[in-house]
């Protein structure tokens, strides 16, 4: 008999003796920081019509109907899509330019100077 505390050690020892491959397939990872490249990809919105479904039981006819509505309104949706994408991409380009500018300023900082952003509010004139 193992105590709960011993069970984990026994499992680790048993796993160390194994050399079989882990099952392949989709693995979920958190998105710690979204890169500019990834943002660019997301900015150009292009929702897949396959994502329009009915989650009701026997919802196939409803799914069919909803997709038909999208089809009939495609000209209007294309306009929406292009306006939203235009805004998204322009904002992103500005952000990318600002990032480059900050990086250039940081590179040009003289050695020994305080970090550009030390979290402190600007000091009033005359403060020591």
């Amino acid at each position: 008999m193992r105590t709960p505390e011993e069970a984990l050690a026994a499992a680790r020892a048993a796993a160390a003796r194994r050399d079989d491959e882990l099952p392949a397939g989709m693995s979920i990872e958190p998105t710690e920081r979204v890169s500019i490249e990834q943002l660019m990809e997301w900015a150009a919105i292009e929702p897949d019509v396959e994502l329009m479904v009915s989650t009701r039981r026997l919802g196939a006819p409803i799914t069919w109907f909803k997709r038909k509505v999208i089809h009939f309104m495609r000209q209007y949706f294309r306009e929406l899509q292009s306006q939203q994408t235009r805004f998204n991409l322009n904002v992103l380009i500005r952000v990318a330019e600002l990032e480059d500018r900050v990086a250039r300023l940081e590179d040009a900082r003289p050695p020994g100077a305080p970090p550009a952003d030390d979290g402190a509010p600007p000091r009033p004139a005359g403060a020591s």
Partner: protein
């Protein structure tokens, strides 16, 4: 005393709404009245929760704000002169949702950003676990009101010839005569890591128990994520994994009674009620010690280390499934955890927090 509960949103199967109903019953038993309102209400909730605009708090009334999601309309409540108790039910970090449900990610990101403003405006700040409370710099805990009686008897009392749900009776669970059934209960969402549960299960199945089954219970965050998880289940262990949602309390209890082990590989949990449910049914729990899990599980669960991957988990499942004495020892500890979260101490914590506002 008059106490009004304010919710970000109310739904028929929502844990926070259920909690608010339970609190209201307690308030009634203490002779306190008031009304419960929400910024967003699912029509299936009925008239037990009123729209936020119908909140008319008198000068001495107390407000209990259940904070669980971004709700811009709730900001107006902060302006009211009444004494306020903020109860945080925790919000999942957005990084788990950006790739799979951008709308949920935005709601989580804004919700977490808005939380400090709510905490600053409240007179008392509490969390459903110490982990939640400390995120807001508080030490006040009002745990989830867990009443195991709503789940029914822990042991299967039906006749041997009756239906046994997904995997067999209590005797089968310990005697090893039936195929093992591994269970996880929790929303089908990226941070719950059902993908890792499936991989660990598949390793366990390959190495030790070809007839084993995995049951995942929980509503999906969206249709696309549900489809992706079902595809992964088919790819990894064809026919051995069941994904279910919308179960009744009785059906859920059946899944617990039939389970050999409860495997939680979630990467973020504010409290994790299913741990207590598994404890109530005497199901051995293997879990990652994240967020509020160590606090709720205590010594009654097998808590994994950071380095423990699917291979270790598969071996641990094999040990748990076959070692009857280990299971008995865990069951004994589990009963102590359920007792620690009995409704009475939670009711006392709630009453103390509210009365401290009324003084």
């Amino acid at each position: 005393m008059r106490i009004h509960q304010v919710l970000s949103g109310a739904g028929p199967y929502d844990a926070v709404t259920t909690q608010a109903f339970a609190f209201r019953e307690l308030f009634g038993s203490w002779g306190w009245d008031g009304r419960d309102v929400a910024a967003e209400i699912d029509p299936r909730v009925g008239n037990r929760i009123a729209p936020l605009r119908s909140l008319h708090a008198g000068p001495g009334d107390v407000l209990l704000i259940h904070y669980s999601a971004y709700a811009p309309k709730l900001r107006a409540v902060l302006e009211l002169p009444n004494r306020k108790l903020l109860l945080s039910h925790n919000i999942t970090p957005a990084r788990w949702f950006w790739d799979h449900d951008p709308q949920a990610a935005v709601v989580c990101a804004l919700g977490r950003k808005q939380l400090p403003q709510f905490a600053a405006a409240a007179d008392v700040v509490a969390g459903v676990s110490l982990y939640n409370a400390r995120e807001m710099g508080s030490e006040t805990v009002i745990p989830i009101l867990f009443d195991p009686r709503t789940l029914g008897a822990a042991r299967n009392t039906r006749s041997p010839g009756g239906s046994q749900g997904a995997g067999g009776s209590e005797r089968d669970r310990d005697g090893g005569s039936a195929a093992a059934t591994i269970l996880f209960v929790g929303r089908l969402a990226p941070h719950k890591r059902q993908d890792a549960v499936m991989r660990a299960f598949e390793l366990y199945r390959r190495r030790h128990a070809p007839d084993a089954r995995l049951v995942l219970v929980g509503a999906p965050v969206n249709w696309a994520y549900d489809a992706a998880m079902r595809e992964l289940a088919t790819q990894l262990s064809p026919g051995a994994i069941t994904i279910e949602s919308g179960l009744t309390r009785e059906q859920l209890a059946d899944r617990y009674r039939s389970a050999t082990a409860f495997l939680c590989l979630s990467e973020h949990e504010g409290f994790c009620i299913p741990l207590l449910e598994a404890f109530h049914f005497g199901v051995p729990v293997i879990a990652r010690p994240v967020g509020g899990v160590p606090e709720v599980a205590g010594d009654a669960a097998l808590l994994l280390g950071e380095e423990d991957g699917e291979s270790v988990i598969a071996e641990l499942l094999a040990i748990v499934a076959t070692d009857g004495e280990l299971r008995a020892s865990l069951r004994e500890r589990a009963a102590a955890r359920v007792a620690a979260y009995a409704p009475e101490p939670t009711a006392r914590a709630l009453r103390a927090a509210v009365e401290s506002l009324a003084r």
